[in-house]
Symmetry: C2
Subunit: 351 residues, 2 copies
């Protein structure tokens, strides 16, 4: 029995891991994408002390502090390490800046095979040691209360940023390279995958109990492109980390859910456009995660309760991890977020 | 027999209208969203003469000129009047500016019921008379060569702009209003629908042979919200214009295709994420339109030909209007766009 598996057994609340593995649970576990973030005043205070987003990411004590906040304040069933998917491009040699309110920006992007040749896929662990330290510290501070989720961006999503240099509605530059120079695109996607595997192995060694891959820009691909430029790299990464339960969340890629049903993952994340019944049909035997429309949390408690319960009813009590269908919006009231979480935790008692 | 129907009969090429109505066609008709636009150097020349995008929209002779360009240069089976979906908010009292390279921006937005009360839904025809003039002029210049498509934005998409003031990834402000103040949201959506009906009736009276509604931001809603905040208004508009074939294109709203199968429209537009087989299943007896991934046109002629033929094969020869799955990207070579169009027109001869 591996150390990681023993770790799972030692958790006081291992609902998330049991649900991920398809084991019987007493109630549906819940956590929230972006639960450690701007929605909490406590986060904004720590962020202000850090001075910048990137300093917050790079300082293990501060990253640990904001990772723990939602566990203490909101009562979620898992912590997710506070970090950023863009630390991988950075560790590969493409630094980024975070423009407040505007999102990330890469001063340099990949345009040619010479640009690619300058990237590195080695010594990722050393360059991202601050993430390992943050995980270890958080693991210690959590003291077995709830599992700790590690994560990375899916290669296609990181590829988009590395070509485009910033967020975009359609990522036309990235998709142009896929068509004009597919060899270069595949070489870059492969390099990102290698770096990500090293990174995730380090996260697991540092205490991550479950890994989630975020393919945030999956929705700009169609089924054929997804099968060529995203899915193979996701599957390569997932295959390399069989030690822990694995979740893949590809926003907008409803068309890939049937593919993920055959991927080496335990859980499929769902955005809010996907009807639970259809998700169940497409996801087969896998656990599903999601998928309340984050904008529901702008409503009053009664409407949040109604929508949350409808979601729970449609997914059923097993093989489901409750979450929003995307990250919580920063201008949501923490009380409304807590209303969502509480309704999930109270659900079985009132049925 | 109505005048409009006689107009259809008098067209030299009425493939589009016959395909829309589910009648037998000799070959699949083709047109391209944003065919009149930046992809053509001839457009850029006219645009430069106009001085600004908004002047181009408002000057019938210039709008007519760019509407005809793709018919002459690319050989498409339909013209679509050059205009902008945002002329409706403007005619209602919310003017917009077009920042070159950044998209539209509304200096004033709707925040309260007082803001809504200041909007007008009357005299739309008078305020948008320049569109009627552009349609009449284009109809005359086309001289029956191909049908002329009119269009409008779907109410939800216009609502997004009127609340948010500009494009956005998630339109959180608009979705916030839907949750916090659904009465105000519905009142605004209803007002937009009324204005749109007057506008489209005017377009039909001025020569539009087919009407397409663009719900460009549909993808940020989920199935339940779509059925509450978008679909009823789309259906209200479609019901009001039974004189011509009607197309609804809701980008990202794959989950609504089964609903559109019961809408008062003839054709359902498809974005490029939707597999043809699934679209056929969901669309029932309706004609479908689309849906090549626009990024395919970044590739070489051989790859464009291959993808185009695969698409045609999957949709079959009837009840299909070929198009891209979204507007053509401005940096696509006109030769590559023509390669797509030619391959569709040549398809049946080589089978």
């Amino acid at each position: 029995m591996s150390d990681v598996f023993l770790q799972h057994m030692n958790l006081q609340n291992n609902l998330l891991l049991r649900a991920a593995k398809g084991e019987q649970v007493e109630r549906t576990p819940v956590w929230v994408m972006r639960q450690a973030g701007r929605v909490l005043p406590e986060y904004r205070a720590t962020r202000a002390r850090a001075g910048s987003f990137i300093t917050l990411v790079r300082t293990p004590e501060l990253a640990c502090e904001v990772t723990l906040q939602p566990v203490d304040i909101l009562g979620v069933d898992a912590a997710i390490i506070f970090s950023d998917i863009l630390v991988i491009p950075e560790a590969m040699g493409l630094p980024y800046e975070m423009d407040e309110g505007k999102g990330p920006r890469f001063p340099n992007t990949i345009k040619t095979k010479e640009d690619l040749a300058r990237l590195s896929t080695t010594e990722i662990e050393g360059k991202l040691n601050y993430v390992a330290e943050a995980l270890k510290l958080t693991k210690q501070e959590l003291n077995g209360r709830v599992p700790l989720i590690g994560f990375a961006g899916a290669p296609f999503t990181l590829f988009c940023y590395m070509i485009e240099g910033q967020g975009s509605k359609e990522f036309a530059k990235a998709r142009r390279m896929m068509r004009e120079n597919p060899e270069l695109a595949h070489a870059l996607l492969s390099a990102i995958s290698d770096a990500t595997i090293s990174y995730l192995k380090m996260q697991i060694a540092s205490g991550a109990d479950l890994i989630q891959l975020f393919d945030s820009w999956a929705g700009v691909l169609g089924p054929d492109s997804y099968r060529e430029f995203s899915l193979p790299y996701i599957n390569r990464i997932l295959s390399a980390i069989p030690e822990v339960p694995r979740t893949v969340f590809a926003k907008g890629a409803w068309y890939a859910i049937e593919d993920f049903a055959n991927s080496p993952c335990e859980t499929i994340g769902l955005d809010w456009t996907i009807q639970p019944e259809l998700a169940r049909k497409w996801a087969g035997a896998k656990t599903v995660q999601g998928n309340l429309d984050p904008s529901v949390l702008y409503g009053d408690f009664a409407s949040i309760k109604k929508a949350t319960r409808e979601m729970l009813q449609k997914f059923g009590t097993q093989k489901h991890i409750a979450n929003l269908g995307h990250g919580v919006y920063p201008d949501i009231s923490p009380d409304n977020l807590k209303c969502f979480i509480d309704n999930i935790k109270e659900y079985p008692n009132e049925k």
